[in-house]
């Protein structure tokens, strides 16, 4: 496995090898699937949306619908306005969604298609909406693409004149299981909340024997409208929710808190503390007990985590959260990497690391799996935490791996579970201990195999 990867590291500026990110449009598509009766639409060649639907389907093991402007060479020369017009008519005629959420691609961006004016010229049926965002693939990553789409919904649909008693939440690039956990936290705190987007029920739908292209679930048009008048918005994930947080502040004057993902105990504590400050509500006993059970677990299993070296990789907001969890478990993070470019990630992670008395870690944005692998070849680790492509390194170097983040293509049921909240940390703590203990059992001499651990 990966036998051509040398230990010797050569500085690279031209070639990315084994990417740790993908392009903006797939993030935009994912965000749009969390809106009720919304058809994500990719303005470009149909190959893009084929790849994106495939990736999302493989991650969620669920249908991921989306349409395309199906550019040909002609459209690439003369512009894609006619293709968009025809697409929108056909989509409303055949699939009848309430909203079409258009995102651009490197193709339509490079030729300079002006989506604002295209959309103004569309013939849109009464009560239906068409929104858009710009997601050139040569900027950012799938995480920023996600943020662009959420911001696009706000730009087009949030109404300043609305009044709502709810807290608005941008959940960031997380799984349906995280959304359910968020809802649980708000419910237990007695705080009414609206979440945009909400892929629970749209991307973890039940088996009923009948297929619904637009299932129940997803943030509704009315709810997005009402976002313009919420008391406050909690924008989770410093990168994924940055853009929508800026937009809702500037468009609707809504105050926002841009917070790290509530992953790990300190982050979840801070999140709940913020809710307390905003609402005056107290944390119920049920949540305190949940927190207590988690701390109990960490103390009980401590010896299996203690100073084990870990490499953490994936998307910036998730990796920062996983880093917090790893430190709380007592692991020693050696490598903390993302493929998404941006220095903010590095400073965020360094700040987290500074709170702990641990050896220095290598933290890098804009990295790739190849670089991570070379680092590991030079200084090995005991554990990998991250996304599915990491399994190549796990196999090549014989390192146990715990899957977390996006994409996870080789597991079933993972997206039902949270990484956020105390419950998310509890789950990760269990997975990590299990992986490390299994490895010990596998490698130890027979006389050292203990049934009781």
């Amino acid at each position: 496995m990966l036998d051509q990867t040398p230990k010797e590291i050569i500085a690279r500026s031209g070639i990315c090898i084994n990417p740790l990110k993908t392009c903006q449009p797939v993030g935009a598509l994912y965000a749009a699937l969390g809106v009720h009766r919304c058809m994500p639409h990719s303005h470009g060649s149909q190959g893009c949306v084929s790849y994106h639907r495939t990736l999302l389907t493989r991650h969620f093991k669920e249908p991921a619908v989306a349409s395309s402007s199906s550019f040909t060479e002609g459209a690439s020369v003369f512009g894609g306005g006619a293709n968009l017009k025809q697409s929108v008519k056909n989509i409303f005629d055949v699939y009848d969604p309430d909203i079409i959420a258009v995102h651009t691609t490197c193709l339509s961006e490079t030729i300079g298609d002006d989506l604002n004016s295209f959309i103004l010229e569309l013939d849109i049926p009464d009560g239906k909406r068409v929104v858009h965002c710009n997601t050139p693939s040569y900027v950012g990553s799938h995480v920023t693409g996600y943020g662009q789409m959420v911001a696009g919904f706000i730009k087009y649909l949030a109404a300043k004149e609305e009044k709502s008693d709810s807290i608005g939440v941008f959940p960031g690039f997380v799984n349906p299981g995280d959304i359910r956990e968020l809802k649980k936290l708000f419910k237990l705190m007695g705080v009414p909340a609206m979440i945009l987007p909400d892929p629970s029920d749209t991307l973890d739908g039940p088996m009923t024997g009948s297929y619904q292209m637009f299932p129940e679930g997803g943030t509704s048009l009315a709810e997005i409208r009402a976002f313009g008048g919420v008391k406050r918005v909690l924008a989770l994930g410093l990168l994924a929710s940055k853009e929508p947080a800026l937009v809702i502040k500037s468009r609707c004057g809504v105050e926002t808190d841009l917070l790290p993902q509530p992953m790990g105990i300190a982050n979840t504590d801070a999140f709940l503390k913020r809710l307390m400050d905003l609402t005056g509500h107290t944390v119920p006993k049920e949540l305190e007990y949940e927190r207590g059970r988690l701390i109990d677990l960490l103390l009980d299993a401590n010896q299996y985590y203690y100073q084990k070296k870990v490499a953490i990789f994936g998307d910036p907001d998730t990796v920062a959260g996983l880093l917090s969890i790893a430190l709380e478990l007592g692991l020693f993070p050696s490598y903390v990497v993302t493929g998404t470019p941006g220095d903010a990630f590095v400073s965020q992670c360094q700040e987290i690391l500074q709170e702990y008395d641990v050896p220095p870690a290598k933290v890098k944005a804009g990295s790739d799996f190849f670089e991570l692998h070379q680092w590991i070849k030079n200084e090995p680790v005991d554990l990998l935490i991250g996304t599915s492509y990491g399994k190549q390194i796990a196999k090549a170097e014989d390192i146990p791996m715990v899957r977390a983040g996006f994409p996870i293509l080789d597991r079933y049921g993972h997206a039902h579970h949270p990484l956020i909240g105390y419950e998310g940390t509890r789950r990760l703590a269990e997975l990590v201990a299990g992986a490390l203990m299994d490895r010990y059992d596998r490698d130890c001499p027979d006389e050292d195999l203990d049934v009781v651990m």
């Binding site: 990966l2 036998d3 051509q4 050569i10 690279r12 500026s13 031209g14 070639i15 990315c16 090898i17 084994n18 990417p19 990110k21 993908t22 392009c23 449009p25 470009g44 060649s45 149909q46 190959g47 893009c48 084929s50 790849y51 994106h52 495939t54 389907t57 249908p63 619908v65 349409s67 395309s68 402007s69 199906s70 550019f71 040909t72 060479e73 002609g74 459209a75 690439s76 968009l84 697409s87 929108v88 008519k89 056909n90 989509i91 005629d93 055949v94 490197c106 193709l107 490079t110 050139p136 693939s137 040569y138 900027v139 990553s141 739908g205 024997g209 297929y211 619904q212 492509y389 190549q392």
Partner: protein, 520 residues
Amino acid sequence: MDYKTAVLGKYNARIYKSRKDHILEVKEGQTQPIAANTRAIPGIMTNRGCCYAGCKGVVVGPLKDTCVITHGPIGCGFYSWGTRRNKARPDADGNNYIQYCFSTDMQEPDIVFGGEKKLRKAIEEVMAIFKPKNIMICSTCPVGLIGDDIHAVASQAEKDYGITCLAFSCEGYKGVSQSAGHHIANNGLMKRIIGADDSGHIGQFSVNLLGEYNIGGDGWETERLLKKIGYNVVAVFTGDGAVTDIARSHRADINLIQCHRSINYVAEMMKTAFGVNWLKVNFIGLQSIARSLRDLATYFGDNGLIERTEEVIAEEETSVAPTIANYRERLNGKKAAIFVGGSRSHHYQDLLLDFGVETILAGYEFGHRDDYEGREIIPEIKEDADSKNIENLVVEPDRRYRAFLTPERYQELKEAIGLEEYAGLIRAMGDGTWVVDDLNHFETEEMVRILKPDVFFSGVKDKYVVQKAGVVCRQLHSYDYSGPYAGYRGAVNFGRDLTMGLFVPAWKLINAPWRESNNA
């Protein structure tokens, strides 16, 4: 009931007009034209991918002794990294680059100021780290639009590093589907690789396997059979394939075509340039395998080979017969729908029949009319604006041209084994069954509802749509992470997987007991 009207009747006039000639009910004994390889309709959810996917993803991606660099923003390279299950083992030098994804990861300044500089730098770094003998560059949409000259960069790299470096202008917007990318890749292999190596000895009974991508290990199972009989497999295009092998492939005695759609250009061009005859084979399904092996033995006309072929068929059939019979007992009488890329929708009908399963609906995602109606239709196919943009490479007989057969023997074999012929999918299907080209999401839902197949074979984008509707869907692109399905052992795997899919205990648990009375 007229299913065609039932499905198409829900379309607006413009879509109706575009789609009506892509769907037909098979009338046995009739010549039935079908519209194919035309533009997808904007907004209508097609399963099709793009030109890049056909070139990089399908044809050149599997070459294990080659660093394939995707020149473009990160997505395209990422999505085509290790996702197609085209398996490969390291070559004699220990190289296997298919586990790697190489991308220039173009950023905004590269789009504004041009990406050639970054591409050159990328090649320099790949050479410094991996020292490959071959590099191939595949371009993505923006590269063509900003006018990067990837061919000039490739030529320069050949001079600078003494390697083989090919460039493919396979931008996603070209053509109407992956099919354009297959053609572009075929042209590149023909221009630069095929015929490049005359060294060494090619044994007798030498064959190339074309259009075999070794998904789930299919190619290995097919090769096992061929080698067992006594054939020399010179090159496989391109599953577990290598540029070093393909460079020698012009000296083989025959080209065996598995996937007609993606590789027939190479077969035709090798015939013209080097005189290599081709034979359409199918190593999917017991009857098809036996027929393909017998046809091949007939081609060589060697008595020892013919005898050995019969021995191997008998031995292999005997070894799998009880298991096949066992699965057949559980599957017999089931109805299937198949919608895959370019050739499998035909191939798998043979395998299904081994289990007593009839195909009631079939179609190709990116097939051409000849894949449906047979190759004799080719002269009648009109070029359109999209197909004209793909280079139609004209080759001349090479100085090394070698006719393996006398003209008389060639004619005899044409009649006896259908040498250089392909009759297409429609003729393989029964009266009253359905053929739909570029079946889309809406039509899939409708056809599943109306025709009620017991199993639907398609890809991952359809899989959960169909299964949520209560019909088992098996992926015939990736084999649902199983396989091989080719050859005799593959048939057993397929029977097991299909039986498994149909008899999953959970199918019976869908209705909660307190809901059953409502549904009764």
